[in-house]
Symmetry: D2
Subunit: 480 residues, 4 copies
């Protein structure tokens, strides 16, 4: 399974997605498992490895939680029968892609646990930078760990603080004093739904409302899908607590540290129909295309995107440059998690199985081809080659992000530096490797502009991180 | 499973796809099961209900056939182990959508059977119009039927004729004298691969070559996917026989009857990167968009397609009208066969779960929205409504095919007339139902033009059929 | 799967079981799928490879048959949901072990087919000796075969004869003129349930009644399990036809040929609680033990059976000899179809995993150990060895059947002669191979006696067959 | 799944089994996952709900543990591929039946966890009586619980003590000062295999040796199955630690408290071929039968056991009384976890589906029928009735254990008192309920005798417990 995920990512040559979280509290007491299912389904692009749902009944016996988790996509793990067995009007859900912690059933989320005040279900998107130290410290206090995910460390801190806190939200607040790094959390206690976001606001988290129900979700597309209205984003450093009385906000940690939203959410991770921290993802991609047209102009007959994620930037390039937009590729939508990858030796290639060129659209033409990012470069040369085989006279590649050069410590899965095509290569050298007639990347200076002038983290492109990266990675010890 | 397919079709409001066939003979003796897998994968859009592969070794014991069939998608039915257990250098494959015959494991293809001269594996795309009569006739001769598919009737006729024919291809030729309707066949006998197409040429079938292997496939996109070169289309009425000696052609039935290619292959069924009977599917859709712009012009700010199939026509409309092309929808690519449909009563809607609007792209704009077809109209009003909710000032719908009005007897699954939105309604009445500001369909006179002036069947739009439809449908009796 | 079955048989060192058939017609119109489930469950010992159920509603649309088949045990193939989807008050079921025809899903029974007069579902236990000739003849008439089982040949003959017969039962009667060998058939047509037995009566078939329902089953234990009363056995050569009017009998073929019941049903196949052709299986095994005590006496402290099938004969030996009966083995009841067999090289042995000795019971004792049969002898030496290891002073083996020496053409799966331990070995030589202190087999002369003086087939022991075996086995050609 | 287990237990009318544990350390470095598989397979009768294996390589990276757990039987959860993916020469395994903690995947064992000194895998058989208090105490210290099983509480205590202990075994010893109740533990740390037994010795645990490998197992039958020799039982209160240097024993807790072996292991739980604490289970059952013959004699023609567990006592009764032993029942060995239970309303009964009477054996006879225990009595009346229907003249029931009257706090699952047939009924009243001609139970005074004069716990029969039962059961709070 895992194997196949790696295949997929390699085939697409994209950084690994991270995770998606979802929570809902229906004050009218309706069962909400199916709503969580659709919410997770809308967030599926954020994690295809495992998923889970945990629900509870706020009027039922305190601490009774129904949960179901499994390896695979939302529609593989859940069927109608399983959803019907999840009873409750409050719940959380999670889709996972493993950035830290092995890809096993044990590591699937939400974590459901009993602690001093009953039960807690926790869904986490992000990556802590001090998890190894915290784990070690907890272990010295006699803690046992049944997973290898950061989320268990967070859960422990909440549980410890809960002993000396009046409320669950206070325990969360205290735990947040200890944990460092990227985390968007959705937490369910027997009578409360809580959402929390790290002070940098690396990963998105927003609040929605549908009738008498409040919703928390990684992206607004999940709100649209379930028919909820967008209320607002959770602020960096904020804790929101939803109870029968409404929403309470704890902003004590807000603006204590510099905000640094992950720019890669805008470039690739998020769905284009989402709006994150006030900025439309679609618009930011369109703008990236426009900037490319301004900064890396070239004469051509057609601008095309590498589907799906390159299309918006291609449209932006077209609008800015006046060169007609076109479709050059047909993508096979049936490639799934369990797809058998062609052997290296076979005549079939992974790229061709997934992508075919519309000869009709490119034959005899000078083509500008736009992709949102290049990681290893394994796919780009194949696509350039396919366009030439289909009769393209010239192939000019434009990339709507800067070259990847640095590791991410905040939840994005980038391969080791040696595997990055941009590592130790000039743009001209990369151009030669992929065989394009010209190559242009988005300039780092454009990143903040494309993200609507939000304060962003550009660590993976610049090596400048908003928080000091860990000195040494001792995580390995805890990996099974 | 079946239930879910119907859901999918309803959600998309499209006519049912039909089937896809694939065959390969590798003269070098290489195992070809994996190649068939990729070929079927490229044809998956033609049938998602069941699939199967049958292979044989031309140097092995005569009549030894390995086969594997199952309900579901190609990557659900096959895994690496199953493919490795299929040994042979000659084989056929099939993806199925049930137009006739119940959706059961028994009806999955290829049919593998023993007859007088050993084994035969047969994959069929199409629908016979005289199957009931032929079944009855065979039954009176003592035949037994273990499936309810037309293909078994074809197999019987080949077997009967084989007794008095010198060769398998001669038996196929004689059988083709008896069967009437739509059929593209790929047949494997122990030492031969045969392809045959009905005299009208309803369904596509083409020949490819890869090294020392010949390939037969429903569409050229399957050739591209496996890295084979296009050789030519099988002619309407032609039988091609591939042996170690090469390709032989039997054209005795060609041009005896009027050619009538299914125009809906161009409108919706086929993949846009396929070229059928010399006409690019993508180009024909682009042209349909252009004709719509000519015949149903309207002033607007943006032209958008309903993904995926409406995009090409939208681009054509944009190119012809000069109105900018844009993207207005994000489609959730994870909706699969086993997706749980929202209940009518729930707040989630099937359409919204699958499709979301890019508010950014349409807000405050006059939008021309292009879809390739409307069947029941269940989806169109939702989409129009979603665009308005997202702030579109005007919504003008254009459909790149004429209104559906008649049943198809040749392999397309159209609902009963009473369920068709165009039945007993004027275009203006339909416009009111779906709530668009204006509505325009492609004119029937444009159909032949869009298909590169090929002779086409337009029965579902006009009621004019190239072959007389059956007087009464007695198929029911044989349905289990 | 298949692999595992072979493992099981080898571990037990028993001839292959055959098949079990079941049919029921409830005149009150109740759904009977669940009853068939329990009936098949009681017959599971007759075949663990695949199973199936086909039902119809005698008041419903003629020819509407619901069926479900699959590889595996009855409780693996069926669940509550599947049973609930099988609607009808008339039905047939089958459990299969492959004696002829490959072990594939295609070969699972009941065969469900359409023919001239509607539908037919057929379940068959036995093996034809002229199937290859009949297949060839049918093939020359243009027949196609989708399975490699004899039952399809029978179905074809019924279908052919049905064309010129007034009734289905007449067609069955005419078909029985053509087919030769062993067959107990249960056949369902839209309004009739039929049972038929070959003129020799090789395989059992009995009639039962429960309230307003008639039942047909391979063994009476299936009647007991569903709470039906035993009515009578179907006679060798008889056809019984059950309709709303009651049971009709066609005995035209009875007593035309010599009766020859398979004696191995009494020795090993049938469940001890069944009564076949008037003779209690349990009693016949008890008698076999008594004859062994008479013919192969030995002084000892305890008589034990190799479980389960050796226990009855051991009790008989004890009763006759006066030597106390005891239990020496504990069998692990959880060994299932999917059990992983220890590798030859590993320290675990297949026998020990399945069987353990009760040291307490045998230590310091002279033990008489009784098994019902020895095929390859692979297990016997292990068991003798285990008894000695557990402290038995002497181990005397007695076998409640004669040595296997000949192939069976009538439905029992005996390995090739070279693999039989008795082939080319004297009893003394066999004793040395298995390492027992003494060895005694049941004498052939006792076989008829143990079977209550019924006329029996002893072919596998004596080489004397009631029907001439086929000259050459041309079946291979039709095997896939 | 769970549902079906309850069905099984009800059908058998037996108390719930508990759990089985297994561990092995191969000093030669061989992979031992397959050996654990066979070991668990031999212990399957102790738990059919879930199972798991965890292995490690003592030469590999410290703390690397491969594990696999799942719901179901050993041969359902594991296949060859899964076993091959478990690498290591040290490992533990578990089969589970839930006495405490819900029946979910989360609660499957072995527990695998990281703690201060690396990893720990723990398999537990038994039930703590102070688990709720310990849980609460841990929770107040900030602990989180991801399961609802006692074993997690044990693991926590070991982890806490590990911080201040030099060795893992010392931590186990200190933890054992805190926990009270029944526990047989097998624990794997990266370089050690440990076994521990509570001071009362409620549940069995023994040591075996195979070549250069040491083995720990719940019962000796597991040693026999894998070809290991029995070394000795772990003593009540003892901790054994197996390292490359050999076995070390810590007996500080031994003989500090009164030994109290569970007598129900001898009566029903354990396999008859096991020897526990020096007493043969088979022999103890034989003796129980003898005592019944002495204390509850009756004149009859035959003594039969209710299979499987009543057979040994029946043989003992026969040997003591001189009344011939016989077989009266045939049990269907194919009833599995997923078997569909007949509806109350249907004509089929659960008992008859599972058990059939050998009419031949009992017709016209006075029958003594021996079962090992009666819980609800739901089955006994059916069996008595079946014997009468089969023609038995008299039916005298004897039970080789006393009447169940009290709850068990040490790992046996007995229904609530109100459901016990013996609750508020005299033996004569019970006799009337089940319809036997006479009824006799084993006298409590015979229990210690049957168990070879070992000190035993007879709480469930007498209400006298070796440890004070918990005042109130607060476990519920922690149940999900």
């Amino acid at each position: 399974m895992n194997e196949n995920l790696h295949i997929q990512r390699e085939m697409d040559d994209k950084p690994g997605e991270e995770c998606g979280v979802f929570g809902i509290y229906d004050f009218d007491g309706n069962d909400i498992a199916q709503t969580i299912y659709y919410g997770l389904f809308a967030l599926q692009h954020r994690g295809q490895e495992s998923c889970g749902i945990a629900v509870s009944d706020t009027e039922g016996p305190k601490g009774k939680v129904d949960s179901c988790k499994g390896m695979g996509l939302v529609n593989e793990v859940f069927d109608a029968e399983k959803l019907e067995n999840l009873h409750g009007n409050i719940g959380v859900g999670h889709v996972r892609y493993s950035t830290a912690g092995a890809s096993t059933r044990e590591n699937a989320q939400p974590l459901v646990l009993n602690y001093i005040k009953g039960t807690l279900a926790l869904a986490h998107n992000g990556n802590l930078i001090n998890a190894p130290e915290l784990r070690e410290e907890l272990a010295y206090g006699g803690a046992i760990f049944q997973t290898t995910i950061d989320s268990e460390v967070i859960a422990y801190h909440i549980a410890r603080e809960r002993v000396r806190s009046k409320t669950a939200e206070e325990a969360v607040a205290r735990a947040m004093q200890k944990i460092k790094g990227a985390y968007s959390l959705v937490i369910m206690s027997p009578r409360k739904l809580m959402g929390a976001r790290d002070p940098q606001g690396f990963r998105p988290l927003c609040i929605g409302k549908r009738g008498n129900a409040y919703v928390l979700a990684s992206e607004t597309c999940a709100l649209d899908t379930i028919g909820a209205e967008f209320v607002r984003d959770v602020l960096p450093g904020e804790i929101v607590t939803i109870t029968q009385e409404g929403i309470k906000s704890d902003t004590r940690l807000c603006q204590k540290q510099q905000t640094a939203h992950c720019v890669f959410e805008y470039i690739y991770f998020a769905r284009p129909d989402s709006v994150i921290d006030g900025v439309s993802v679609y618009h930011s991609r369109l703008m990236a295309g426009r900037y490319l047209a301004m900064d890396s102009p070239v004469d051509a007959d057609i601008v095309v995107g590498v589907p799906e994620s390159g299309n918006a930037a291609a449209l932006g390039y077209s609008l800015q440059s006046g060169i007609p937009y076109g479709t050059a590729f047909v993508k096979n939508g049936y490639v799934g998690r369990t797809f058998i990858k062609p052997k290296q030796s076979s005549r079939e290639s992974s790229v061709r199985v997934k992508l075919n060129v519309l000869r009709e659209a490119v034959e005899g033409k000078r083509v500008i081809m736009i992709d949102d990012s290049i990681v290893r470069g394994t796919t780009s040369d194949r696509i350039v080659h396919m366009l030439r085989e289909a009769g393209a006279k010239e192939v000019h590649m434009r990339v709507s992000s800067p070259p990847f050069l640095w590791p991410c410590y905040f939840g994005t899965d980038v391969p080791a530096r040696e595997q990055l095509i941009a590592y130790n290569r000039t743009v001209e050298e990369i151009r030669q490797v992929i065989g394009a007639d010209s190559l242009g990347y988005l300039d780092c200076s454009r990143l903040r502009q494309m993200a609507g002038d939000l304060p962003i983290c550009t660590g993976c492109f610049t090596g400048n991180y908003p928080l000091d990266p860990p000195m040494e990675d001792i995580r390995g010890e805890f990996e099974q």
